[in-house]
Point group: C2
Chain length 427, copies 2
Amino acid sequence: MKIQSVKGTRDFYPPQMAVRNFIIDGWKAASKRCGFVEYDGPIFEYLQMYQIKSGQEIVEQLFNFQDRGGRLLAIRPEITPTLARMVNQQINTLPRPVKWFSVPRLCRAERPQKGRLREFFQWNIDIIGADDVLADAEIVYCSLDYLRSAGLTEKDVVARISSRRLLAALLKNIGIAEDRLDVLYPILDKKSKVPAEAFEEMLQKEVSSGQIIRTIQQLMEVHLVDAIPSIVNLNNEAQAALDEVARVFAYLDRMGVRDFCRFDMGIVRGLAYYTGMVFEIHEVAGELRAICGGGRYDNLLSDFGGPKITATGMGMGDCVLEILLRQKGLLKDDTLDVQTLDYFVVCADAELFDKAVSVAAVLRRKGFSCDFSYKPVALGKQLKQADALKAAQCVIVGQELKESNQLVIKDMKSGEQKLVNADAFLT
Amino acid sequence: MKIQSVKGTRDFYPPQMAVRNFIIDGWKAASKRCGFVEYDGPIFEYLQMYQIKSGQEIVEQLFNFQDRGGRLLAIRPEITPTLARMVNQQINTLPRPVKWFSVPRLCRAERPQKGRLREFFQWNIDIIGADDVLADAEIVYCSLDYLRSAGLTEKDVVARISSRRLLAALLKNIGIAEDRLDVLYPILDKKSKVPAEAFEEMLQKEVSSGQIIRTIQQLMEVHLVDAIPSIVNLNNEAQAALDEVARVFAYLDRMGVRDFCRFDMGIVRGLAYYTGMVFEIHEVAGELRAICGGGRYDNLLSDFGGPKITATGMGMGDCVLEILLRQKGLLKDDTLDVQTLDYFVVCADAELFDKAVSVAAVLRRKGFSCDFSYKPVALGKQLKQADALKAAQCVIVGQELKESNQLVIKDMKSGEQKLVNADAFLT
């Protein structure tokens, strides 16, 4: 019976696995450089956990199921709820700030699109228990640190940064009631994703004053912190929020990544739960979805039954990133080593086959990666196999062993051969 | 709202994550030493794929669900069906033998027990397209290579090896009909897991002749290849199978792991699909479940709609292994580094806080792992934090920077301090 894979999932054959490892190794290295430590949770959790942060509508995007005990469970679509649960469980013993990273496998029951699959990997970094915007700057820095280490420059990617706190203050400043904010965020977040007319139409449904709508439209276009006071007459709350944004940029300057960063009031993020700095990193040309996004969400732990402790974090999926790295020539299948070997043992004399088997075992015991042909096929065929497996050197077990207890070591790059004493080489 | 994790799953806090990485890194290293290359598949597949190899009863042990298109899916309980599907899809282009490894996350909807959880990790190695028992010996060797690298000796673990081909030949030899074999295998596999009377009762239900039952019981106790001819008068088929087993042991001898290995007719493996060598590695004392198991299953690819190409492989879970490594003192929480840092930047003068932030960024840019306190707290508190994060060195940004453009480098092990020129150190 022939069976296919499920659409929206990926098979990681060795070349694709090498790409996945290349990306994940880069994420892990950047996390460790910036002082984050790795954690992970289960692949499934109670379904209701995902409704706390994202509401009832998330259920449609989940692969959910019942276990035999009738428990409603779901494959994780994100790891943040797990993070909140885990940190809450140990909040009294964990040293703060908690700086954790993870590279979870996640699933969403969506229709697959370019850069958005039903199963993917996502790098997450979070700082819990650090109130100052310095922690927000650290999150942006670490995201950029990885992208820079992958070879991307400020000509390739831009971190668009705004503040939910600032946006809330400005909206209230111009007359939006506090309890209307959560309705507006998902609409404002759509601004760059829908045509201008559609955006205006959505706004008109929620905001009755044409003047306020025009002011909102103006605000959404702002790319300079200094331009805001000319649009809105700032109250103290808005001024404090604006000063905070300025401090984020000052830190990013100290950290040497200011050139990657741009203030952009158009960055809103859909979810209600952000409370401070928000950001997304995009390809400069802007043709791809966001490479990553995140921000401050100070109510996360308390939403999950924990104490009021602040948090800020970021998530970066592997799908858009891989497309981008390929477009920029920073990831090519033929430059990644799918497999390498220190040694390939070649048997040049069928009588010595058993000896070749033990030579390979001894080299492995010494810690080298080593392989050999399972059949004493022709010498040329074995050397070809060694080449295909990218062996650095071949150890040829042949008549030299019988005659003078010697092995031939062939360097596969230079083609040079040398004779070595078998006992010395294998000890 | 307070939510718990689902029973039978694990939270990997940083210390547990370090253990998981320690185990998985060891598996990966052994795989690479032996010339295996990594692959992976999706976390869920079509439900029916798991019924092909394991029958209808497997469905009860699966977490299964429907997607919105009504497709019946399941979280993978093993990766072998995925392996078969993937290899079949590329069978005409993959160079043979295919030597692949994977460390999949797997789930089983079982009642959690000691060493058996509902979510776990399993090391898999498989060789496809190598007919000779040398490939079987390689599988056993690689399994032992990992266990030996983890510090286990032949006093700790034993590889119990038998042959399904030999067992089949012997059973037919003593009068069991070929079509009765698949019924007997799961019963024979129970021998060491149930009391002797229960085992005999199970046999009596399937085998009418008391004489044959006694012979089967005798065979199950055999630990020497040479002892078999005294129990059964071997026909050609059985003799050939016996010779093959002897060759497996001869190879394991050449590979230097013979002392770990024991012939044991009691090793049957429950699944019908094994066709040749079968083995399990157990703790010598025998109190734990098998550490790993595997064998030859030459019909795997054809069962999944592919060609008749031979295969042999092994699976090792992380749960029993972790218990064993802890029992033997080879895995202790306090010997694993949960986190280390190259540098911790200490700010000894609040005026220089911004400078400390940029020093940390520069060190990270140079590739070092580096962290710092997000608040300019007291010097002693910062040094304590550096210690907790296992920083190798501290960089103290203080008055020396103002006075003479120097930084203090403090070695955290020896306590020694030295002054360095800031520009030279940060370039």
